[in-house]
């Protein structure tokens, strides 16, 4: 409170300005696309981090909320012409219900750690298979989002740079929200549950309630990311919005950057997506899969040598001292 102008705040403001003006310098659509993907996965990883990193409830089925958001807004737009700007909140509402449902069933019956992880995979797979078999939702061939009417109202832009600014604002939003929550009682309680659940109970924390708070928040925010994805790519199918591959891609930036740290997921996304995109663009065309091998090797190195992620490494070098 007292020192609002710490170098951390200054650094944060400085980075905001840099990224605000970056598209004026970098105009290549490839680089803009890469930046959008960095922020998109950084955003999703931050949503995941809120529940997995702070509250300690790691999920491997987060795609279920991406898919719920993407499918709800796309379907409502297709069928009744509802603007995705509104549809995204209806999707978020469905994700909230879904998150509470999954959370209540799993937490009520005390599924923890690996068992909770498996349960979340199962829920995501169930929804994926359901949608694969619902013809109104496009089944396996998905939904194409085509422009009709006013582009802005339809959450569609002719230039990629506008999508960049939308996801950029979403990233700033989740960072501020996470930072804000950590200053509040709820933030302390989520971390206490992660650190020691039994002791949290004995210290007056209604563990089930706060776990449900964590999964609801994470579900709602993740869902908004799903609508963004649908509107940016203009095509969704069960594989790309509900598959386990996506769930894995969501957690990798957080793991690489540092689980349970504010900037970890974003830093992780920068490194991971950059490496993935660079390896793909220079090596992707050649011998099958070499770019994936390089990507995989990188992940192994991070996991073996940097247990606390890149942020952990940075704070060891005392660049980022203090509470993360």
């Amino acid at each position: 409170m007292k020192n609002l102008l710490t170098y951390k705040t200054i650094l944060f403001a400085f980075l905001i300005v840099i990224f605000l003006f970056l598209p004026r310098v970098i105009t290549s659509t490839f680089y803009i696309h890469t930046l959008i993907m960095i922020f998109y996965f950084g955003y999703l990883a931050s949503c995941w981090n809120l529940m997995a990193g702070y509250a300690g409830q790691a999920s491997l089925g987060h795609a279920i909320f991406v898919g719920t958001g993407a499918y709800t807004s796309s379907f409502l737009r297709l069928e009744i012409g509802l603007s995705p700007w509104i549809g995204m909140w209806i999707g978020a509402f469905f994700s909230l219900i879904l998150g509470l449902f999954i959370g209540y069933l799993t937490f009520r019956y005390r599924l923890k750690g690996h068992y909770f992880l498996l349960a979340t995979i199962a829920f995501a797979e169930i929804l994926k298979i359901l949608i694969l078999n619902i013809r109104t939702l496009g089944g396996g061939s998905g939904i194409a989002i085509v422009l009709k009417g006013d582009p802005f109202w339809q959450f569609m832009f002719t230039q990629k740079v506008y999508y960049y600014y939308v996801i950029f604002v979403m990233v700033i939003g989740i960072l501020l929200l996470t930072h804000f929550l950590l200053q509040k009682r709820v933030g302390y309680y989520l971390v206490a549950i992660r650190e020691n659940e039994e002791l949290a109970k004995a210290s007056g924390i209604h563990v089930l309630k706060y776990k449900l708070v964590a999964i609801s928040l994470s579900a709602v925010l993740t869902s908004l990311g799903g609508t963004f994805y649908a509107q940016y790519i203009c095509f969704i199918d069960p594989h790309s919005t509900l598959g386990i591959g996506l769930s894995v891609d969501i957690l990798i930036p957080a793991v690489v950057g540092g689980i349970g740290t504010l900037f970890g997921p974003i830093v992780g996304a920068f490194v991971v997506i950059t490496i993935a995109e660079v390896a793909r663009s220079y090596l992707g065309g050649g011998t099958g899969g070499i770019h994936l091998t390089i990507y995989g090797l990188f992940l192994i190195i991070v996991i073996v040598f940097m247990r606390t992620g890149l942020i952990g490494l940075l704070s060891k070098l005392s660049l980022f001292k203090g509470k993360t």
Binding site: R185, Y188, E195, G204, H206
Partner: protein, 245 residues
């Protein structure tokens, strides 16, 4: 003069499969009283604490705390009405600082972390954790400091009664004397205490009354001097001729 009853345990029984961990346990704790619970390993002491603090449900019996029935309440609810426990194996929030650990306790009464923080600082001073350790993460503290931290966190929840499960286990004789002093200070604040303890010196010095459990049953109850005189207590501990009451 008749003192008011803080905690009343009536006919508590609990079985785990075929094992009867507790059989018809009844006892009372008066306001501001310290009751020591002793008994050999496996006598049911910790199970009794788990029942009182809401971590396990008894098969039968009643627990009344300041006029409220505790059976069926969740541990966090029991904490909030003023009955707080500590754990046999010392527990902490390992990657939070000492100060944050105590704040978690204080937050059960304060919505505002800043208020909780101010109060927690007072409790850390009271319990005798030196200021240079406030910002160390709990897992790096020594055992005695972790034990103190548990008491500080319990106190920060502003309880009327603390159930302390082996607050002395693993401490050196010097540390034990220090922690006895700390518990004396807690007693002076007018709290009721229930202590599970193996170190006889501690139990004799601190308890107003002692309840001894053996094989899940209340074996004997009395003042410390009654217990010392009773030869059957020694027998129960040494394992010969244990009579079933």
């Amino acid at each position: 003069m008749e003192q008011e009853i803080a905690l009343e345990v009536t006919n508590i029984s609990k079985s785990f499969g075929g094992l009867k961990a507790l059989r018809n346990i009844s006892f009372k704790v008066l306001q501001e009283e310290t009751v020591g619970i002793i008994g050999p390993n496996g006598a049911g002491k910790t199970t009794l604490f788990n029942v009182i603090s809401g971590f396990i449900k008894p098969d039968q019996g009643e627990v009344i705390f300041n006029g409220r029935k505790l059976v069926g309440m969740r541990p966090d609810q029991i904490c909030k009405i003023g009955l707080v426990r500590t754990f046999q194996l010392v527990q902490s929030f390992p990657r939070l600082t000492a100060l944050e650990n105590v704040m978690i306790g204080a937050l059960s009464r304060h919505h505002n972390p800043l208020l909780a923080r101010q109060e927690s600082e007072q409790w850390l001073d009271f319990i005798g954790i030196s200021r240079k350790k406030w910002y160390q993460v709990a897992k790096n503290l020594t055992l005695v400091d972790k034990k103190r931290l548990e008491l500080a966190r319990a106190l920060a929840a502003n309880p009327k009664l603390i159930l302390a499960d082996e607050a002395m286990s693993g401490l050196t004789p010097t540390e034990i004397i220090e922690v006895i002093g700390t518990i004396q200070k807690i007693k002076e604040r007018g709290l009721a205490l229930v202590l599970i303890e193996h170190v006889m010196k501690v139990i004799m010095e601190l308890s107003d009354r002692i309840v001894m459990l053996n094989f899940g049953e209340k074996f004997i109850e009395g003042t410390p001097s009654d217990i010392v005189k009773d030869r059957t207590v020694a027998k129960a501990y040494l394992g010969e001729d244990v009579p079933f009451v």
